[in-house]
Amino acid sequence: MCTDVLRRLAAVGAVAVAAACLGPLAWERGQRAVAILPGAVRALATTTPEERRLASYGDRDRLGYGYISRMMTGFPDPEAAPVVRIPEDDPRPMALLAGIRSRHEDRVLIAIGVSDADIRERVIARADRRADGTWAFRTVTDFETLTAFRFSIASTSPARMPVVLRHSPQHPRHTIGEWEVPVPVHRDDVVEFRLANPVRRFSLGRGATPFLLEISGIDRGQTSAAPVSAIDVLGVKIDMSPYEVVNREPNCLTAIRRDFLSEIRGRPGHPWARYVESISNVPRE
């Protein structure tokens, strides 16, 4: 009898503690569920799915769903997706439109929320020296083009520095570029090395994975007397130089690559020419 009471008390006690733990949570969630109902019913009754998409993804902001939908109306190639920058490289707006656009059309660029800084060259990262003498840097957000390196050089530097850019410490065999950086005889503290062939689609969709930079034959194993004291990486977030803007709305623009635009303009009546004409609201350059 006594054991029975004890066991019963233990069961009741355990359930009571569990109820005390979960009761408030369940109550709060229940209240939230009930609170959602009137607004959700109203939204369902008074708005269309398209209006709800526009409210969620934005017209000229966020994913620019409204603007991109307008620009894609009458787009001559139903299977092609233009380059979309918001200002990151983002495939979501194209995935949200009806149909499937699996072909990459880089002759057309649609940009949402792009600032002047995004289309100018700037320092996009400063490299950190690693314990093994190599350098690593992250861009974190998407940068279209790598244009230059800026080396802070110590006086002990040789006349030429072989520089290798590798994919990442995880993939050190994947080389992105190799350069011989000439160091002037009367060298300055800072040497800017501009890439003859800028690296395109440089850090699109890469996230925070670091790049690896090796100054071979000099840095490796000589951390105490480093000839390079700092490296800045220069690039452009959205490289607008090949493009001409044909449509501009607040916070948004659509641009066509210049060579393609000349071709289009030379063929009046062509579907592309009709499309460009239909969206153009910017005076020709």
Partner: protein, 480 residues
């Protein structure tokens, strides 16, 4: 297929087709949630195999309808279950959260990066019936997009929000299937416990149904887990085979659900393996030789079914010219990166805060489950193997999560930030099953003891007064 279909007609097909397929399951008392889940997985498998085999879209959809027709024919043999007042009350209590989740899914378009770029894109590509290798993120499994696609096929391409209702139903059906844990007649305490567990675990936040597959994966794993737990606890003496299915059928269904996990997400393959291996060990572990012989009789076929399903996706991937060992998009995870994981324990200090945040997040449920498990294991011995199994799954899955972040080749900080909570959250079903099982058992135990103590007191009073007790408690010896 039916452009312009309204939401009610889409819902009818969303509920109806899986239930028709599920009606093929024998046992008049078989839980409706389990029937729905069985139908859903079979319909999804039909789409996956039909698509991968290059069958035309119309033929594959016709095959789904044919499978439903088989369900109707087989289902006619079974008698409808008797009325159960606990079911009506549970439905009533779950109505508000269920409705809230349905409505918030309908008013909230597909969202999140992966939700749109991976899963919705795959669904659209399936809708267009693109070849398997041409699908976006082709190595990612197709079960979720197949379900979504099936509903778009009935509701129309533009009705993606209606298509996502399948993920709401998946949550609801799983919560309903928790009632599998108890033999009929359903204990009244389940009427309180199941809705509370439903409220805690079936979150009304739209991200659960936004297009991400983690909640769908968790619900499928929950089905396997619930059925294994049912066999473990019934096998231990709390009740035998019943109208709600035999242990053989339960284990076979659990194998089906566990095997399907690898068809939902890549990591599901590992979650399925964890469920099956810990489940098999728990089933065989405490059994004597005769019982073990009887168990292995139906365990082997179930394990074969599990293995066939688990290997199905890697097989389809390799048949379409892709490398099944490249576990995720890019080379974030490969066999090589996993093998290197054990040399990367230096990552622990970076991973630990995410584990701490996860434990804080599930803190109340974890505390409640811990206390109820201890009390349950002490007071109700038939729960012990079930409780051991559930904690085993939780611990091994958390070890798996740790391994994932030891072996990732992606930037660790970014990967932890973007994936840890979703990956670790896939095991929350364990707590739901634990809480339901132990809470109901302990409440029933306390009430039974109350009744027994009451009966003893009454008997003494009767003895004093010389009256007759018409309903003596079973453990009180009958009067001579």
């Amino acid at each position: 297929m039916f452009p312009g279909s309204s939401i009610p007609s889409a819902l009818l097909t969303l509920v109806g087709i899986p239930l028709l397929i599920g009606s093929a399951l024998p046992g008049p008392g078989r839980n409706l949630g389990t029937r729905w889940w069985f139908g859903t997985i079979i319909a999804g498998l039909t789409v996956i195999v039909g698509h991968a085999a290059g069958a035309p879209r119309a033929m594959t959809l016709a095959a789904v309808i044919a499978v439903a027709a088989v369900g109707i024919v087989r289902g006619r043999r079974w008698v409808a279950p008797s009325r159960d007042w606990t079911a009506a009350v549970t439905v009533l209590l779950l109505l508000a959260p269920a409705l809230a989740q349905c409505l918030s899914t309908l008013i909230q378009p597909v969202a999140g990066y992966d939700g749109i770029v991976i899963w919705y894109s795959k669904t659209k590509a399936l809708f267009a019936w693109q070849p398997m290798a041409a699908l976006p993120f082709a190595r990612y499994p197709n079960m979720g997009p197949a379900q979504w696609f099936l509903n778009l096929a009935w509701a129309g391409e533009g009705q993606e929000h209606v298509g996502r209702l399948v993920f709401v139903l998946a949550s609801l059906a799983w919560i309903w299937a928790l009632r599998e844990l108890w033999p009929a007649p359903m204990p009244w305490s389940s009427v309180v416990v199941v809705p509370i567990v439903g409220l805690v675990f079936m979150d009304v936040d739209p991200e659960h149904t936004s297009g991400y597959q983690d909640a769908f994966l968790m619900a499928t794993a929950a089905m396997a887990c619930t059925l294994i737990t049912k066999v473990l606890t019934r096998d231990s003496g709390a009740g035998g085979a019943s109208t709600s299915g035999s242990p053989r059928q339960d284990i076979t269904l659990a194998a089906l659900f566990a095997g399907s996990l690898g068809l939902i997400k890549q990591e599901g393959l590992f979650l399925g393996l964890i469920l099956v291996s810990v489940g098999a060990l728990s089933l065989l572990g405490g059994a004597d030789r005769d019982r073990r012989r009887a168990l292995t009789g139906f365990l082997w076929p179930a394990l074969a079914l599990y293995a066939a399903l688990a290997l199905l996706w890697p097989l389809l991937v390799s048949l379409h010219g892709m490398n099944p060992l490249n576990i995720q998009h890019g080379d974030t995870f490969t066999v090589g990166s996993v093998l290197q994981a054990f040399g990367q324990f230096w990552r622990w200090p970076l991973i630990a805060p995410y584990f701490a945040a996860y434990v804080r997040d599930i803190g109340p449920a974890l505390t409640a489950a811990g206390i109820l498990s201890l009390a349950g294991a002490w007071l109700a011995p038939h729960l012990r193997r079930g409780v051991q199994f559930l904690w085993g799954v939780l611990v091994v899955h958390l070890a798996f999560v740790f391994l994932v972040f030891l072996s990732t080749r992606a930037d660790l900080g970014w990967h932890l930030e973007s994936a840890f909570a979703r990956l670790a959250g896939q095991n929350r079903f364990v707590l739901a099953v634990l809480l339901s099982l132990t809470a109901v058992s302990l409440i029933e135990l306390a009430l039974a003891r109350t009744r027994r103590l009451g009966a003893t007191a009454r008997r003494r009073a009767v003895a004093r007064e010389g009256a007759y007790d018409p309903e003596p408690a079973s453990e009180v010896p009958p009067r001579a």
